[in-house]
Symmetry: C5
Subunit: 308 residues, 5 copies
């Protein structure tokens, strides 16, 4: 099937990249229910590592099994499935070629207490190649005192991935001694986090849906002076997308904590109306029974398709 | 001798691995008294390094000699013998081909006081190749503030070992500033430790038998909400095995401190009833006179063979 | 077009460098409105990374777009355009060959709080080659406790860049526990910062316009004893240029915070009168509407051309 | 001259090692007055680095000269001479082939105060090859908080040395925040230090003569429960030798601070009676006039030869 | 011109070195006014980096220019000229072959405050080769808590330099938390600093002229017990030279702070009378007008030639 015009347009924004990297970007944009639309819904399952198996999978015990998530992503028509090394290794051979895979290259857990947040690098670009992945993922915590270690590792990963024809998806989650807890989702901080990821060479950027508060005093002056609209979620998403090279980088939004379906759908509409490129929905999907999850993901995709 | 069906099934869970790695996994599963059963009893002797020679070997002085342990593992019909570099080097030539060997690549001692627990890397994958080993072993302390150093070293070891056809056994022992002393064997923490090791790409995972207490407040909510059974050791072992990719990773349990035989046998039965894959029994074997140790290991293996 | 005599003279100061490095230096000196004059005006746009997208671009929203800055630098007749990896990657293919590019290899942001200032390395010499750049840029913070990390990274970058025929531009911005806030632009400190950059092997050095105050007691004695003139900006610029190998290294001056046009023009005249080699003007250009920015840059260049 | 039976027996303990390493071990065991006896007396001269030249050599000024020590070791019939890079480089060409050399690869000095003791690596295996050495030496401080750095450097040195056919001599000197000052020579700590060195792959282990005190509470229980004899020096030496793989690693003992001859001879007898493999005697030899030193070393060797 | 007998004798002390390294050592010993005498006077100009341009060059403004120092060293008949990367690069092509060059590979500045003194590595052995140098220089601060980092970097530099036929000159300047301010030039500390540099493999050692005080209590005992003479500068220089392998390493002395000519000449005589190998004179030469500097250096050389 030929690439859609929209996908071609998106690829044109990455004109410094080699054909291999563009090919893998195209694969993800051209797979699943939203294929060709320029919108994406991705299934991420790193919560077993990040929050523990009980908090992640006990709500829906079949989800303890790594195969479950491959199948869920396929059946739901997601654009890609993202997970840490162990989860991907467990199913990559069985599901080879069935669904674009994103290997998350670093992870935190909830057992250790570090002075400044910094995920451990837990897999490599070579692992991604070996497992047939379409992209690598990497989490940075802007506002952490461990910034340099994280950005410098990311820089090397982006470069190595590019050489192997793999785009990089950056989870840009502000956290650490530089900001308050509320500041982690403040509009100025989320927009800044998107900018940092874009400047680092990320092909796709994942941020949290921003709230209306503004964290930094200097930023507040800019928002007031230039009347940047931040009232509605759509306003804020538009500002974040603009902050990622004026909309020329793919920015998707996380679903965040498990919440009720109506609230989630409202959020998705806000993201769509603000020009967001899609969603990455983990706990809100795999922690529900499979049928409910499939329906929910279908509903989300319908919103991105423009159905009211 | 052809592989047993059970061993073939277990190997199928590691379908991303190369034939070399599967071969060594098969070797360990097909050796000794429990060969082909899918159960394993391993003799580990790293206590000389970890606790000191006097605390480890004075109870049974022949055990000061490295050859003693090779012979004990062979005569007892263990699946493998695991030890640090020095102990393996001392006997690897004499016992070459007689017993599958696991080289422990890192170790702690009880003389140093580190701010956060973190074993020193004391041997390499190359050493394991040179000595004819079937696997490498590596200890992580989830909950340590030195998490990133340990996980990042493990990641490189797993990758290098795989390339050389060696599976990795991870000792996953939560310890450090992130949890309490009691929390080290709490059911939520042990299950989480098994998950982390699995996500890191471990082929075999060694944890301590979990207790009934729950360490983390967030985890407690999940256990209560979803009624995860943790009353009996069998319940808890079942939950830990489930937490390691729904039973698709080999999880074995340590014998822990030297204890009386009856208590140990009860524990082994609990592990068996919960679907544990076996035991790794050090102090409870080599600190007894050789005849007693051989009998004890035989009794343990009988339990795993399903004899009441 | 043959090189001007002045450019040939400037190149003669770098006689230890290979022809590749001299060629790229010549390219920047021979491009744009000031081509051949030995003076330079460079457009730098790293503020999205360093201060955030809102504080940088909301004043002139077209500037959110990476292409905007390439075009601005071209149309204004700048000698070069300098930016971080993401911004250059976004336009390097489209504007290939249109304007000399300087890839900034390290960057800070305003979200993290580090104990001592130290930019993260965010791109490499290889990236600069891949993107067709004429030079690499690197920021050091003399007076930071992280000095050794920064200088040692710079040393390797300078060496690698040279081998690839790329000159290095050093942003030498004193900052950190060694000096006071006012000391960052003190004349003794700025002159010292220029010297350090020159000794490190920088081909071009960027400093802030120095103020009249003197930070260090030992330095004060030298200024007084030897009557070094520091009253006017021209005096101070002359002293800074002298401190960079007696005027045999290219020293340019930043425009600093956005300010009114008259004040900026006075500053430029001071730099010119003191023998400065030019200016690097970011916020004062791209935060104005495009037409005003083009006029302003033209006016600045006229001053360097010697028009009163 | 054919190897003695005893030397052949000792080499058999190192059956995992390549012929090159065994050859160099045999060279040291077959050189000098004690050749073939399985006992060794080594001259070490690192005190210039460790304590300063004045404290080391002023007592016998010819000892300032590096050649002095080569000649002393030769004339005294020592098995080997051990020293840091500078001392060996100064004489290695002149004395090439005259005496087995051990290059000490790390050293401390008494000027710096480090938070935790950790010698600096001051030479390499390549240097040892270049200078014609028979072995390399490396000091660890078990009980130091810098344990991991030291053990991980040692691991790499042991591996590299083996590949080049060089055995490794480990100075295992407990020191640091994990133990008390008295604990540094406590019997449990010295035995533990010998075990750690053996587990790390050391071919020869150097410890201090142990005292009767026991440092660690857990160890004390083991000594009492199992009635480990530690009353006489011979008892303690026997226990330390047993702790190094049941006597299957070469353990030698340092002479320690300069002391009177009678006390030293008593100590040597205790080491001999406990089955120690020999002594490494620095200050007690080179700080005496040459004739006295030669006599003393001859007397020591006579004790090891079994003369009362 | 054939090498002098004295130079041949000096080279014989470095018999472990390859011909390339000996050749470059011979070049420096056979150049300039003192050629062949075994004495050396070297011009070092790193003060621009270490103290700032104003404190270094304002007293004699032509000295801002890098060419000035090459010419001064040539015209004064110095044995060599030593400087950091930037200063050497600026003139190495123009003065190629005119004067032996020593590239200083590390440097500090006076802007940063580090917890423990440790110079940044600012150039490489490769740079020295590229620029036609005869030697590399490296500064260590014995008594700094950063000892291990410095010594380990030095070890690698010495080894790499040797492989390329370059001798290493070590500036051994005790400084840091291990000693008092007065202790930096105490006789015991300076003698110890010379020993450390020699043990590290330095070919030439630069120390400060030692004072009569003794810093370390343990050292004091040795000086008193063995009646080491330290009353006159000549006594102390003799002891320092003895501490550097009994006079078999080249030890030269710094001129220190700018001082009046008579005091300087007295100091030089003391160094000569104690058997010092020469001087390295920076501020006392280049901070005077050129004619005075030439005369002063000539006078110094005359002293070393034995003129009263």
């Amino acid at each position: 099937m030929a690439l859609s015009e929209r996908v071609k347009q998106i690829l044109s924004w990455y004109s410094s990249d080699n054909p291999g990297t563009l090919t893998n970007l195209a694969r993800m944009l051209s797979y699943g229910t939203l294929a060709g639309s320029g919108k994406m819904v991705i299934l991420p399952v790193d919560q077993g590592f990040e929050h523990g198996p009980h908090r992640s999978f006990a709500a829906n015990p079949p989800a303890y099994d790594p195969d479950y998530h491959f199948q869920l992503a396929i059946d739901a028509g997601c654009n890609a499935y993202a997970a840490p090394l162990g989860f991907l290794e467990a199913g990559a051979a069985r599901f080879a070629g069935d669904i674009p895979l994103i290997l998350k290259l670093n992870n935190s857990d909830s057992l250790s207490k570090l002075a400044e947040p910094c995920s451990a690098v837990t897999a490599s670009v070579k692992d991604a190649m070996r497992l047939g992945c379409c992209a690598v993922g990497y989490t940075i915590y802007p506002a952490s005192g461990a910034r340099n270690a994280m950005l410098e590792a990311l820089r090397e990963i982006v470069a190595e991935a590019k050489e192997h024809g793999l785009p990089t998806v950056v989870w840009s989650y502000p956290r650490g001694s530089g900001i308050s807890k509320e500041g982690e989702t403040a509009i100025d901080v989320v927009a800044y986090a998107a900018q940092i990821a874009a400047q680092m060479g990320a092909h796709m950027i994942k941020v949290k849906p921003p709230k209306e508060n503004i964290e930094q005093a200097e930023a507040k002056k800019a928002y007031e002076k230039h009347n940047i609209p931040v009232k509605t979620l759509a306003d804020r998403v538009r500002h974040v997308v603009q902050s990622a090279f004026n909309g020329r980088r793919i920015v998707i939004f996380s679903g965040g904590e498990a919440k009720d379906t109506a609230a989630l759908m409202d959020e998705i509409k806000g993201i769509r109306d603000g020009g967001g490129f899609g969603s990455i929905i983990g706990r809100n999907s795999f922690q529900r029974p499979r049928d409910e999850a499939l329906k929910l993901l279908r509903d989300v995709m319908n919103i991105y398709k423009g159905k009211p």
